[in-house]
């Protein structure tokens, strides 16, 4: 689709999702804000796609913008110390520098939209994230893990489906 840049705001610089190596499965990563998936997903029943809104339309699921956090946290739980940190980022108009938790192996193409739109539940690949107080990658993305699912669902297991 052709678009005009008349309205489009400045596109902030964005780190490309660096595709590097595999990942050790258990190491917990410290984050600038102690965000809890458990509170948001399990306690308040917020759909994953509310925050990770590009999961249905893009290769990347997306990390919510500070603006999106503030939709709720302008009014909700504003006195909590961690929420105050969000407000501070918002006030300074600075992005939150989250640390990457989930790693995709090298030379791999993984379009979220294809999985999500085919009805693969988020928890299939991100098990336990709904119960986690600190985000952690419990499932290592080995080729066997991917292939099991592809075989079960009868979708392509051609090398070029994922590796380019």
């Amino acid at each position: 689709m052709l678009r005009s840049r008349l309205k489009a705001a400045a596109v902030a610089s964005f780190l490309l999702l660096a595709l590097l190596g595999a990942v050790a499965a258990t190491a917990q990563t410290s984050q600038p804000i102690a965000y809890s998936h458990r509170v948001h997903v399990t306690n308040f029943k917020i759909d994953c796609r509310f925050c990770h809104s590009s999961a249905t339309k893009s290769t990347s699921a997306g990390i919510p913008s500070v603006e999106k956090c503030m939709i709720c946290h302008r009014a909700i739980a504003v006195d909590r110390p961690e929420v105050k940190k969000i407000a501070q980022y918002w006030k300074e108009k600075k992005p939150i520098p989250w640390n990457r938790v989930t790693e995709l192996p090298d030379h791999t193409y993984f379009p979220h939209k294809r999985m999500v739109n085919a009805g693969v539940a988020c928890l299939t690949c991100h098990p336990g994230i709904d119960q986690a107080d600190a985000a952690i990658q419990k499932q290592e993305f080995t080729m066997g893990f991917c292939m099991d699912c592809h075989r079960k669902r009868g979708v392509s297991i051609d090398c070029w489906t994922c590796h380019v």
Binding site: D158, W160, H163
Partner: protein, 232 residues
């Protein structure tokens, strides 16, 4: 949905301008190697334009022949790879899996069309030239073979789009970078599984021939001979 991707190259249209070569370089993260390496015959282009001389002046002629990977049905490169890094994809493409490649270069040695290129070094993109790198495909590292993929990332983009809209892929919707840019329209791409596609018609064109047909490699690239004569 089954596909069999194929390309036709109309030599009656090709002018030899090289737009395909640079379009491919831009699309596929192909490194620039410099004069010294080029002197060793190591150009990394996935498509090249051969130029053939015939006779000398007066009466000299030149003919151009763009040569991408021929995506052979019976590919000589596939059978010699000890680690199955090159194989035949379900869409009939001759595929290369970088993760598996250990750099024996047997495949390139066995390719009659010399279309496979080898990463002799880890080629670098000086900052900020790396900003241009396509996020759709990897930057290959030292010791890995690479070659034309018929722009698999562009095929996939169209597949994704068609799947999202719940429809079949339209004829002419998939265009590798070289086909997309070719000014005189000498390159035509399509799906042989679709009997009504332009490519299916061109595969029956009386002008068709394939490179080194006698080798029996059954390429998925067919060439259309230049025609002679005025008016009609």
């Amino acid at each position: 949905m089954k596909h069999r991707w194929a390309m036709a190259i109309d030599l009656d249209r090709c002018t030899g301008c090289g737009a395909c070569v640079v379009a491919c370089t831009a699309e596929n993260n192909i490194p620039v190697i410099g004069e010294e390496e080029a002197a060793k015959g190591r150009l990394m282009h996935w498509i090249r334009v051969n130029r053939y001389w015939e006779e000398e002046n007066p009466g000299a002629r030149a003919t151009y022949l763009p040569v991408p990977c021929q995506h052979c049905q019976r590919a000589p490169c596939e059978i010699v790879c000890p680690v199955y890094a090159t194989y035949h994809s379900e869409d009939g493409l001759n595929a290369m899996v970088y993760n598996r490649c250990i750099g024996t270069r047997y495949c390139s040695n066995n390719c009659p069309y010399s279309v496979r290129v080898f990463n002799w070094y880890d080629y670098r993109w000086e900052k900020p030239l790396d900003e241009q790198l396509s996020p759709d495909l990897s930057v290959r590292s030292r010791g890995v073979m690479e070659k034309c993929t018929f722009c698999i990332q562009r095929i996939r983009r169209v597949k994704d789009k068609a799947a999202g809209e719940g429809r079949k892929i339209r004829d002419g919707e998939v265009q590798p970078a070289c086909v997309q840019t070719c000014p005189p329209g000498a390159l035509i791409f399509g799906d042989l599984e679709d009997p009504d596609s332009a490519i299916s018609r061109l595969f029956k064109d009386p002008r068709r021939f394939r490179l080194f047909e006698h080798l029996g490699t059954e390429p998925h690239v067919v060439y259309l001979k230049r025609r002679k004569g005025a008016g009609a």
